[in-house]
């Protein structure tokens, strides 16, 4: 430091003009030298030594720097320029370093030049030295974090403004040097004089020669701003290498210095601050109070149970629950545990009890058997000791079988539904609750001598008419069983029907090909006479139309017998049926080959018409709808419902029977039952479907007659097995409720004659009584 001051003093004595600025710089240099980076340590010493040595020279160099550069150092500059051209690669990388280390380079140069030209360097190196110093300072500034510390220590941080630290040998600044390409100079020095380019540029040959000859060519860098070549020192090269490797430029910089805590970790007894405590720190918190009161309230209300005793019993779970298919814990609902193998029994013992050993015959039988049929898959054998037991030859096979069993085991669970057969029976009310219905036979009407084909009760329920194969029609008093009248007709009576109109006393009887209208003369005299009057009051129309049927009025003894009108049909008549009003009458002549099977007669006008043009099959029976103008025609398998007014087919009911025998319409008109010769009774709900709503097969033999009760929810069926079965058939007004059908009673009484039992059934019009006529020539009343 003192040396520098001395130097500056010397400087001051030497150059008056530059004294002030030089002083300034010296101050700077003082600072720098204290905190000089270690790189420059050596240089510093050298520089110091040089300073001492070059004291006299520094003045000259200041004034005659240009001349020096122009004359003395042109060799080096040429070299540098050449190197510049050639080693562009290096130049790119080293560009920055150059600017910073220019001073260094120049500083390091002198020793070499010293050797070559001992006199000159004194002149030249002084200013360079100064510059170098500045440069070194700049480098230090750039490199170190300690720059901050150093500046603060000195106070004026702006003194080190980098804008002042430009290389002032050429004052053009940091401009592209190409701009001076066309000029003989490359810039201006501090005094404003031109810095001229070297007179002769290095050509390629020079460059090459230089490259070949100069051993330091590789470390020579061309400085464009001064157009000189600079040879890098070893330290600089080392620095370049370090920077290239990404290391710190400073060799002595320790990256891993031990850390020093900013604050101590020891707890100190005195507060850090002297601030008094807040008021809120010693006043109970309102928020906490609110929380606590909430908890207290919850505890009071029992929502929270404080200090709930921990469950001391350990919680177990059944690890093997899945093995039990019934356990709830089975994770998979469909888990099927592997079937367990049977444990070995005595027969598998090496020394089984003698009863397990097979006798000779059993052994033979075992060998004869199929492998699958064998009770045991092996033969029990006796060995004297365990040592004598041979290896089980089928072991692999057996294991394989087991694996196969497990593998092929059906893992699907079969859902077996255990149905109690009694649950399948629909819940029907007990017959006891469905009273009244006929239960016992009360009266037997005896008188006929042959099977009674048909019966019918009078609308009042006082009389009963029956037609028999003994060619008679009998009229009975219902409550005593007295036969009031016996009327001879000319053939076996197929059908008798009492006129349903209580104001008309007429019975339609059909035998052979005749339909006879009888006036039985029973009941109210007034009605009887008015009926007669009705028949006699008929006046034939003027023009007599040709009709299929001849109407004849009975006279003489026949009239006295009750015969009123005789309708002679072209064919045998099987059935007659009245319309509910009692004026119309339908007769059936079954004939498969003709369309003349059904005729509708009007008694008051003595008119007959054939409603059907086509033959749709053998007609079994017909019936009128009780309320609406519908007409039911039963053929062998179907029941057709015709609208008589619109004259069209309304419905066709499939009975699923082979041969319909009889049919009855519910008094409500919406239900129908069909009896068939194949022992079935089909109930149709006309609103529901054209298929039977219920099919009853409770008769053992062919059904011959079915009937509905007019008022009670009852229907009856008579069959060849001699029984009459009474069923409760409730029809509800509610359309959503299906009819309830409950068989309630089997009534027996008729003898089976010639394989025929009951031929016709009919209900009493007012009482829950049923009449049945049988092949045993009797009529029975069940009440």
């Amino acid at each position: 430091m003192r040396t520098v001051n001395l130097e500056s003093q010397k400087n001051g004595t030497m150059s008056k003009a530059k004294e002030k600025s030089a002083k300034k710089r010296v101050v700077e240099e003082d600072d720098d030298q204290i905190f000089q980076l270690p790189i420059f340590g050596k240089d510093e010493k050298k520089a110091g030594e040089e300073d001492d040595a070059d004291l006299s020279d520094s003045e000259e160099s200041v004034f005659s720097g240009l001349e020096d550069s122009g004359s003395d150092s042109h060799d080096e500059e040429e070299d540098a320029e050449e190197g510049d051209d050639e080693e562009d690669d290096d130049a790119v990388i080293l560009d920055e370093i150059l600017t910073k280390s220019r001073g260094v380079e120049t500083a390091t140069e002198p020793p070499a030049t010293d050797k070559n030209t001992p006199t000159q360097p004194d002149v030249k190196t002084a200013p360079k030295q100064k510059r170098k110093m500045k440069k070194g300072e700049g480098v230090a500034m750039d490199d170190g974090g300690e720059k901050g510390l150093s500046t603060t220590r000195l106070g004026d941080e702006y003194e080190h403004d980098t804008s002042d630290e430009e290389d002032i040998r050429n004052t053009v600044g940091n401009i592209p040097m190409e701009w001076y390409q066309d000029y003989p100079h490359i810039g201006y020095n501090l005094d404003g004089k031109k810095i001229f380019k070297p007179i002769r540029n290095k050509d390629e040959l020079d460059e090459f020669l230089d490259k070949m000859e100069n051993p330091d060519y590789w470390r020579t860098v061309h400085d464009k701003t001064t157009a000189s070549d600079i040879r890098l020192s070893d330290e600089q090269v080392d620095l370049v290498h370090r920077l290239q490797k990404g290391q710190f430029g400073d060799v002595n910089f320790n990256e891993y210095e031990p850390s020093v805590d900013f604050f101590t970790n020891e707890v100190m007894i005195h507060p850090v601050t002297n601030r008094p405590q807040d008021k809120r720190s010693f006043i109970p918190s309102l928020i906490e109070k609110e929380k606590v009161s909430k908890l207290v309230h919850a505890i009071k209300m029992g929502w929270i149970k404080p200090r709930k005793p921990k469950e001391t019993t350990p919680q177990y779970y059944d690890l093997w629950a899945k093995e039990d298919p019934n356990a709830i814990l089975g994770r998979h609902k469909m888990h099927v545990p592997a079937p367990k193998m049977r444990l070995p029994g005595h027969e598998e013992s090496y020394n089984p009890p003698p009863e397990y050993l097979l006798t000779e015959e059993e052994r033979m039988a075992w060998e004869q058997q199929d492998a699958e049929d064998r009770k045991l898959p092996f033969l029990p054998q006796k060995h004297s000791c365990l040592r004598a037991v041979p290896a089980f030859s089928r072991f692999i096979h057996e294991r394989f079988e087991r694996c196969l069993d497990l593998y092929l085991c059906p893992r699907q669970r079969k859902m077996r539904v255990n149905v109690n057969p009694e649950d399948l029976i629909p819940k029907l009310p007990k017959p006891k609750d469905l009273q009244p219905f006929p239960t016992t036979m009360s009266l037997v009407y005896i008188g006929h001598s042959s099977l009674v084909r048909s019966i019918s009760a009078s609308p009042t329920g006082q009389w009963l008419v029956s037609g028999s194969d003994d060619c008679t029609v009998r009229l009975w008093e219902v409550n005593t069983g007295r036969c009031m009248k016996t009327l001879e007709v000319g053939g076996a009576v197929k059908s008798v029907v009492w006129n349903p109109n209580p104001a008309v006393c007429l019975v339609a009887v059909c035998f052979e090909s005749t339909v006879l209208l009888l006036n039985p003369g029973l009941g109210d005299r007034l009605v009887v006479s008015s009926t007669d009057q009705l028949i006699t009051s008929y006046e034939p129309p003027e023009e007599d139309k040709e009709q299929a049927v001849t109407w004849a009025l009975s006279e003489g003894p026949e009239h006295d017998n009750g015969h009123r009108l005789t309708l002679t049909h072209p064919k045998a008549v099987k059935q007659v049926v009245w319309h509910g009003k009692g004026d119309y009458l339908a007769s059936v002549m079954p004939d498969n080959s003709s369309n003349l099977q059904v005729l509708i007669h009007q008694v008051s006008k003595r008119r007959t018409q054939n409603p059907f043009r086509k033959n749709k099959g053998l007609v079994q029976c017909v019936s009128f709808h009780p309320l609406r103008p519908y007409f039911f025609v039963a053929t062998q398998r179907y029941v057709r419902v015709y609208n008589l007014i619109k004259q069209e087919l309304t419905k066709k009911l499939m009975t699923n029977c082979k041969w319909i025998s009889s049919m009855a319409i519910h008094p409500g008109g919406d239900n129908l039952i069909c009896g068939s010769y194949d022992c079935r009774l089909a109930w149709f709900d006309l609103d529901l479907s054209t298929k039977p709503y219920k099919m009853l097969r409770h008769h053992k033999k062919a059904l011959r007659g079915v009937a509905y009760h007019k008022h009670y929810p009852l229907f009856a069926s008579g069959a060849d097995d001699g029984s009459v079965i009474i069923c409760h058939g409730m029809v509800y007004n509610d359309l959503l409720q299906n009819p309830l059908i409950v068989p309630v009673k089997v009534l027996k009484g008729h003898q089976i004659t010639h394989d025929l039992g009951v031929l016709d059934v009919t209900f009493h019009p007012t009482q829950p009584w049923v009449f049945s006529s049988g092949a045993d020539a009797t009529i029975r009343l069940f009440t």
Binding site: Q435, P436, T440, M484, D524, T766
Partner: protein, 370 residues
């Protein structure tokens, strides 16, 4: 063998015994008890002849052994048992068989004469001995019911109702055996099934020549009518009701509702009970005065067919007779409701009507076998 303390008593002074308790074997039955009484009477009266007795324990006839009966009735055997004894009602025997040509529909007995109606459209008057005295012919159809109206000395008034919807009033002089038709009552629309002392079947009450009033209310055929007294008429119908009518106003006073068709009813002024025979084989006893309607007092069940006729005994308040379509006539005592006193099984066909003469029964049956 356990013994029972019993005390015997009777209403009949002729057969009274000392009022002292007797010790009787508990297993003794009617016959043994009867012997005991006879022995006692013989001891009292040497000329006493053997008589069959019947015994009542608390109003019920003894039909089994004494111990069984008391067990069934829940009577304590510790106390002294009071046993009433009555002379046994002897079994009825058919006395006369009066043959009609046709079914007999009805019978009405007087003290001297028996009137029958028949399906041969006639009614007949018989003497008690069974001799046909008079044939009443005039109807054009079956005679359904007959009735005596009154008798003034030798002249009698009688009624016949027929299926021809008429009722004829006849005057008959028994001495001269002359019959004179007095009136013909028409007005029914339907056969007249029953009459009872000036009352026609159905809904009409007759007085003189024209129907006085029509009692309408039944929905179905009226099977039987009778006078309870001079102001009340009772009618039974097939619509399962028995109705009591006020004869003056013609309005319904009470309706007794049963569950089955009523065929016949009978009223006893002695016990004030109504007996009905219906199609469900039961004879039922009703109290017509009771206000609570359809309460059956007693059901007598033994018949196996429709009960077509019931008749209270005119002189005995406990006895009635019933006829049924099962060919049986049964004599009942209301004190023995389980079984009838006697079955009269002389008929070979349906019994249609029964009646009493004093204490003897006449029953009609219908048979075409004659």
């Amino acid at each position: 063998m356990s013994q029972l303390q019993t005390r015997f008593f009777t209403d009949n002074k002729k057969y009274s015994v000392d009022d002292v308790p007797f010790s009787i074997p508990a297993a003794s039955e009617v016959q043994e008890l009867s012997n005991v009484i006879n022995k006692l009477l013989e001891a009292k009266n040497g000329s006493h002849s053997q008589i069959e007795f019947d015994f009542l324990v608390r109003g019920q006839f003894l039909r089994t052994s004494l111990s069984n009966h008391m067990e069934a009735e829940g009577i304590s055997t510790e106390d002294v048992v009071e046993i009433e004894y009555v002379e046994r009602f002897t079994a009825p025997q058919p006395e006369e068989c009066m043959m009609h040509d046709d079914w007999i529909s009805s019978v009405e007995a007087d003290s001297e004469w028996i009137l029958t109606g028949s399906y041969d459209k006639t009614a007949r008057i018989w003497s008690l001995e069974g001799k046909a005295v008079m044939t009443v012919a005039g109807h054009t159809d079956v005679v359904k019911d007959v009735a005596w109206v009154r008798r003034d000395g030798l002249t009698s008034l009688l009624l016949t109702a027929s299926l021809d919807q008429t009722i004829l009033l006849w005057e008959w002089n028994s001495e001269r055996n002359k019959l004179k038709a007095r009136h013909c009552c028409r007005g029914h629309a339907g056969s007249v099934d029953t009459i009872e002392k000036m009352v026609g079947h159905g809904r009409r009450r007759w007085g003189g020549f024209t129907p006085l009033m029509t009692l309408s209310g039944h929905n179905e055929a009226v099977s039987s009518v009778l006078w309870l007294d001079s102001e009340e008429i009772c009618s039974a119908s097939w619509d399962h009701t028995i109705r009591l009518w006020d004869a003056e106003t013609g309005s319904v006073k009470t309706t007794l509702t049963g569950s089955k068709v009523f065929n016949h009813i009978s009223y006893s002024p002695l016990c004030r009970r109504l007996a009905s025979g219906s199609t469900d084989r039961h004879v039922r006893l009703w109290d017509p005065r009771s206000k609570d309607g359809s309460l059956v007092l007693l059901s007598l069940t033994s018949h196996s067919g429709w009960v077509t006729a019931v008749k209270w005994a005119p002189s005995h308040e406990h006895q009635l007779v019933s006829g049924s379509l099962d060919n049986l006539v049964k004599l009942w005592d209301t004190r023995s409701c389980k079984t009838p006193l006697y079955d009269v099984s002389a008929h070979e066909d349906k019994v249609l009507c029964v009646d009493w003469t004093d204490s003897r029964v006449r029953h009609q049956h219908t048979s075409s076998l004659y």
